[in-house]
Subunit: 239 residues, 2 copies
């Protein structure tokens, strides 16, 4: 078993601006903390849950980096998202009481375990929490629609540009650089997420390098010209 439990307090967690307790007052925070008392460590390559596992809890990423992916019976695979610090994993499991995707740690990670029945109970007491849960689920829906737009109507360069911009933007919101990042996933995983083959991902990276838009050295990416990437995603306006 690669999990381990540790007591922590939401109120003192430096992720509380990103995570579930957004906007909660002291009492609400204390009560939430009494519910989220378990943390779990996931080693790189290990799964937080698998397709078909009983759904009991949501998970908040405390550190590390995850991917979620669905798999068909004939072995097709689709990465449905990459989750970083402060993001919530497991919403897919609510509807059928079983998870419908796999969540895999792409680096050693730690998550807060949030038993869903207790989250529901608490959100019946606290309007703020209830509203926040709804927003988290709605945000995931809106995000998915954005991915559908990307997969349905963009070409390879546009997809990769949009992907890189999205990653740095989320990293920047967590205090990292706006122009430099380390990819935690392989070219194949990027390709699966973006609906293209790993060779096409690699070629598109190379093209961006040739154009002077980015520097790439393996997993390290330096965005030299953000405007150029924006122009690729949005040919008309550059925004």
């Amino acid at each position: 078993m690669d999990s381990q439990s540790i007591k922590v307090a939401c109120a003192s967690c430096n992720l509380r601006e990103l995570c579930l307790p957004v906007g909660l007052n002291q009492e609400e925070m204390d009560r939430l903390n009494s519910v989220i008392s378990i943390r779990r460590r996931i080693k790189r390559g290990a799964s937080l849950f698998h397709t078909g596992d009983k759904f009991l809890s949501l998970f908040a990423v405390r550190s590390g980096f995850f991917k979620t992916h669905v798999t068909t019976v004939d072995g097709r695979n689709q990465v449905t998202g990459f989750q970083m610090t402060g993001e919530i994993i497991g919403l897919d499991g609510i509807v059928n009481d079983h998870h419908s995707c796999d969540a895999v740690a792409l680096e050693d990670a730690e998550v807060c375990v949030m038993p869903f029945d207790q989250i529901e109970q608490l959100s019946r007491e606290f309007t703020t929490l209830q509203h926040h849960v709804h927003k988290i689920m709605s945000r995931e829906i809106v995000r998915d629609h954005g991915v559908m737009l990307l997969l349905g109507s963009m070409r390879a360069e546009e997809r990769l540009a949009a992907f890189l911009l999205n990653l740095v933007q989320r990293l920047h919101a967590r205090g990292f650089s706006q122009s430099e990042l380390i990819l935690r996933m392989t070219r194949e995983e990027i390709g699966s997420y973006l609906g293209m083959k790993l060779e096409t991902v690699s070629r598109t990276f190379s093209k961006f390098v040739e154009d002077g838009t980015i520097d790439v050295k393996q997993r390290y990416v330096h965005i030299k010209n953000t405007d150029a990437l924006n122009l690729i995603v949005n040919p008309q306006t550059g925004r």
Copy 2:
């Protein structure tokens, strides 16, 4: 103004097995009914809401057929879903208090207006309703992941076959035929949803007809061989 209000009762609505009141008892049903007292009629081609509209309510389709689509600043368009009787529209608006897509009626339609603040209040009182709201949102997330799989890893024939099977399955759950259906959307809208051009949609329909898998006459489709469609979607198992 193309809307009009009419009193109705959830308890006597013949969609209650598909819609929000699933599993509610009499008291809960009565209370819900007091909240969902307005219906709105939408003419074919008219919008239920537009991107940027203030989010106030969820909508349950009572009759008719809708599409939702997102639009980029440079005019790209992506249909994100088709909604039929008993399905819920508007979940995208919760996160930012404004809608992030357009909902358009593809035929004359009627929806129940469900003011979201009142839904939230009621779901603080009734666990059943709360849980049901969560499931509806989770179902949408899981559905979106399925579309991502389709867009990211399937070829034209597979996409269209999966689309047709999904449509008849949902229609069948509403008492319609398992093998015949009328498409409410154009080839272009199908193409937008499936990430392909309308010409490719038309050609793929024609191919299915040549193969003897379906009959097509404009918007009318007769599925002659469901197994063949299943085999196209799932080459290995046929399931």
